[in-house]
């Protein structure tokens, strides 16, 4: 059996009762968190730009856009939802692979579920299957694809999106296999894009490509036998090895990678989350702005988040020093702390400039060694090896905070649906998550 065939058999057969309790809880959090992010970002200017750019495109059906008052053809709704869900860098992270699986897989699944009239629990099952496959593709590509410069989310999630969409469109196993082949050849996205709109385009495009691959396969287009682990396939080209296939297959259906998917507490790259936690703590310990801040971090932090003078929201997401500065100044790092006004606030700029990042291989990728000198010369030190994580209640509180500004008092009902997938049609969820049209 090929790895692709194993993935397709798993995805076609799995049911919710097969998931471990932890995997089930992780799937619910991954789905609910992604949906809330899509609603929360709906009115962002970057999402306006994307929807406007796609206005010339047509398709067989229209899917309402979460957090907005308009709709787009299913493939392009998938792009916008995947883009919006990742835009704030506030989604989720599978630490071992650095894949952010939620928005692209959920976006493709939403469009497919809308088309096929699937229920909330069918949506959840498809998302669990698609995320599990995406994460296992990510594991197979690790560490080589990242080291070569690929954006792990871009290259891993199109296949998961095709799996989720294909299952919801009720493709037979052979067609699901073809869909994976059509999605796999489109794995794309370079790390060079970090800090620009091209980065959230990667999960947006993975969602659209995965959905389209499922639809094309359903219309008779075929693919190769082993698009993932074949000699000229995904692993060979993006990672330069196919040995990762063994890890990707290990315990499939019994051990769940999705259990490790972590919902982000802060709206930026996960490698700076420990810095923010430390900054928040330091601000409580020291009176007033610090004299100097020395942050010893894994060298990857400088590669991914080394921007020192960000000028706007998206650049600030990739500035570890900005993350520290807002953590210190505001005690939090949600979407508001990355708004352009905050990025260009004089006191924040001043704080950023007091920070020095020192690369050190001995510090774990998600950790930090901080040495903060207060105004009076007091030195405060902290060490973290892991990023802080949200528990299930924290994820729901985050979802409420994200959706209330857009949905108002309707937010409670949307969050309830998003986190308790049931026998209702997905259309109910979509209608609950659109913004109200302004009275004309």
């Amino acid at each position: 059996m090929t790895l692709t065939a194993d993935f397709c058999d798993f995805a076609a057969d799995v049911s919710l009762s097969d998931l471990s309790p932890e995997a089930h809880a992780a799937a619910v959090s991954t789905l609910g968190n992604a949906l809330a992010l899509m609603v929360g970002a709906g009115e962002q200017p970057a999402v306006d730009s994307t929807v406007g750019a796609l206005a010339a495109l047509r398709g067989p059906d229209a899917v309402p856009l979460l957090g907005r008052t308009d709709s787009l053809p299913a493939q392009w709704a998938a792009l916008v939802h995947g883009f919006a869900g990742h835009l704030e860098d506030f989604d989720d992270t599978h630490p071992a692979s650095i894949v952010h699986p939620g928005p692209p897989v959920v976006a493709a699944a939403l469009s497919a579920a809308a088309r096929s009239g699937a229920t909330g629990s069918e949506l959840l099952t498809a998302v669990a299957a698609g995320v599990e496959v995406a994460l296992r593709v990510g594991v197979a590509l690790t560490p080589d694809a990242l080291a070569r410069g690929w954006h792990m989310t871009g290259v891993s999630t199109g296949i998961g999106a095709a799996i989720a969409a294909g299952r919801l469109l009720r493709l037979p196993a052979k067609r699901l296999h073809d869909a994976v082949g059509i999605a796999s050849t489109q794995a794309a996205g370079l790390l060079e894009a970090l800090g620009t709109m091209a980065k959230p385009l990667h999960p947006g495009k993975a969602a659209a490509n995965g959905f389209e691959a499922a639809v094309l396969a359903g219309n008779g287009l075929d693919g190769p036998a082993e698009p993932i682990a074949g000699r000229r396939g995904l692993l060979a080209l993006h990672a330069g090895q196919t040995d990762g296939a063994a890890a990707a297959r290990d315990g499939l259906g019994k051990r769940w990678e999705i259990e490790d998917n972590e919902i982000k507490p802060y709206a930026c790259g996960v490698v700076s989350h420990a810095l923010i936690e430390v900054a928040t703590e330091a601000a409580r310990q020291l009176a007033g702005p610090p004299r100097s801040v020395r942050l010893t971090v894994n060298p990857f932090v400088l590669v991914a988040m080394g921007r020192t003078d960000p000028v706007d929201q998206l650049e600030a997401k990739f500035s570890a020093t900005h993350c520290f500065a807002v953590g210190y100044r505001y005690g939090q790092a949600g979407p508001p702390e990355f708004a352009d006004e905050v990025v260009n606030d004089a006191s924040v700029i001043d704080l950023r400039r007091r920070c020095v990042l020192v690369p050190d291989d001995s510090v774990p990728r998600y950790g930090v060694r901080a040495e903060i000198t207060g105004d009076d010369g007091t030195v405060w030190r902290a060490e973290r090896d892991h990023p802080p994580v949200l528990d299930a209640d924290g994820v729901r509180r985050k979802a409420t905070a994200l959706t209330e500004p857009v949905l108002g008092e309707r937010a409670a009902k949307f969050v309830e649906l998003a986190f308790r997938p049931g026998d209702w049609p997905v259309d109910t969820l979509l209608r609950a998550g659109v913004a109200e049209k302004p009275a004309s």
């Binding site: 750019a53 010339a56 495109l57 398709g59 410069g149 073809d178 050849t185 060079e192 219309n219 075929d222």
Partner: protein, 450 residues
């Protein structure tokens, strides 16, 4: 939006230079040959089940003014889907064009993107030809800069570089500003397509189709205010660094506007992988010498890429037969001609063809050039015959003549267009003087309008 301050910025240099480049007469003439060739391959394959599937997947129930014509099809689709369908069709039969140094088939992606955006922008024929030429030129330059390490690793370079060409063609026709054109190119680099694992399945032509469609999408997003990395080509995690182990970025800009790589484009005389072509030439050459005698065994001395790329000994359908050099040799020996009928599903599984395929052995030889082959066969009366092809038909040393190209085009579209077939080549020839693209599209329409 993002400034990039390395010493070299290939992306911005290309975006700044391209719009005003003028085509010399020779480059203009070769561009028209490239366009004519892919227009005919696209129309010839436009009714294939794969294209039916693409169109069904993207069909719109209520047509409106946002839709454009799809070359060779009765339906109208949006710009993205039209680009996807046309470019997929253009490459589908593996009968299009090849830039031999890079193995890029450059025409398909630029045709799909150019016809779609050209219609939406009501571009003139001359604007289309100019935009098409520059799209071809840019993707060839980027492909050359990646060096042969890129294709050798397993990338389908027609997709990975085609998307940049499609973005240039579409961007010029959309009238993008210089900064928007740079953004569109950078967004295209975020959407590269193409693993060679898909060869022998619908994924191969879809790689070309998605290159075109993603190029169109890149232009729509760039015009919509997207930001993208200015360092997309040259950055430490950019195109040159990530997509090849041995890029030579300076090639991309070397002698831009003076040296035209599009002049090196060649056109396929046979609808299959180009490495099979010298072998098929040899088989066709031997056909008359057989004089009814049966071939009992044969040996093909060939370039080592033949077993690597087209080594399938026993294809079960027409698509797989395109990746079987011994199939091309067998049908060449049996039929004396190799065209689309030799790659029909029925011919791929015909017992006499299968038997002869099994009798031909591949003898790869490092000293054999890519466009060279020697075929030696033993006949049932004990006689042996040999044909040596120094340069394959359609190679740079032996390019197809205008007459051969016209003949190829006619054979491709006659089953679709009947007596209207010759008018298609004329419509392409008239493009430089056409106010828009409607004559080409109307001529290729399967149901003639009065």
């Amino acid at each position: 939006m993002v400034t990039y301050s390395a010493s070299r910025n290939t992306l911005q240099a290309l975006a700044a230079a391209i719009p005003s480049l003028e085509l010399p007469a020779e480059a203009h003439a070769e561009t028209l040959r490239t366009i004519s060739n892919v227009v005919h391959t696209a129309v010839g394959a436009s009714a294939h089940p794969i294209i039916d599937g693409v169109v069904r997947a993207h069909r719109t129930p209520e047509p409106d003014g946002a839709l454009v014509a799809v070359l060779g099809r009765p339906e109208r689709l949006d710009q993205y889907a039209a680009a996807l369908a046309v470019a997929t069709a253009a490459h589908l039969d593996d009968y299009d064009d090849t830039h031999l140094a890079t193995v890029i088939h450059p025409g398909a992606a630029c045709l799909g993107a150019g016809l779609a955006v050209g219609q939406a922008q009501q571009a003139s024929g001359a604007e289309f030809v100019h935009a098409f030429a520059l799209g071809v030129e840019v993707q060839l330059r980027l492909g050359l800069a990646l060096t042969d390490k890129h294709y050798d690793a397993g990338w389908h370079i027609t997709g990975t570089c085609g998307v940049t060409g499609a973005a240039v063609t579409a961007g010029l026709l959309a009238g993008l500003r210089e900064d928007e054109l740079a953004t569109a190119l950078a967004l295209a680099i975020s959407q590269t397509v193409g693993h060679r694992e898909g060869f022998g399945s619908a994924v191969k032509p879809i790689n070309a189709g998605k290159a075109a469609a993603n190029g169109v999408l890149s232009v729509l997003l760039a015009r919509g205010g997207f930001t993208a990395p200015a360092s997309a080509l040259d950055g430490p995690n950019g195109f040159f660094a990530v997509l090849s182990s041995a890029s030579e970025p300076d090639i991309a800009l070397a002698d831009l506007g003076e040296r035209w790589h599009l002049l090196d484009n060649t056109y396929k005389p046979y609808p299959c992988g180009i490495v099979s072509h010298p072998a098929i030439d040899a088989a066709v050459e031997l056909h008359p010498e057989l004089a009814g005698r049966r071939v009992v065994s044969g040996t093909l001395r060939c370039h080592p890429l033949v077993p690597e790329l087209t080594g399938n000994p026993d294809p079960v359908n027409g698509l797989q037969a395109r990746f079987s050099t011994v199939h091309g040799v067998a049908t060449g020996l049996l039929d004396g001609t190799v065209g689309l009928p030799q790659y029909a599903d029925e011919r791929a599984v015909a017992p006499e063809v299968a038997t002869l395929r099994r009798a031909i052995a591949l003898a790869p030889d490092d000293d054999c050039r890519r466009d060279e082959a020697t075929l030696t066969v033993t006949l049932d009366d004990g006689a042996t015959c040999e044909a040596h092809v120094t340069h394959a038909r359609g190679s740079l040393a032996r390019p197809l003549t205008d007459e051969e190209l016209a003949d190829k085009g006619l054979r491709l579209v006659s089953p679709m267009l009947g007596e209207r077939a010759p008018a298609l080549a004329e419509a392409v020839r008239d493009l430089p003087n056409s106010p828009d693209l409607t004559t080409v599209l109307a001529t290729a329409h399967p149901e003639p309008t009065s």
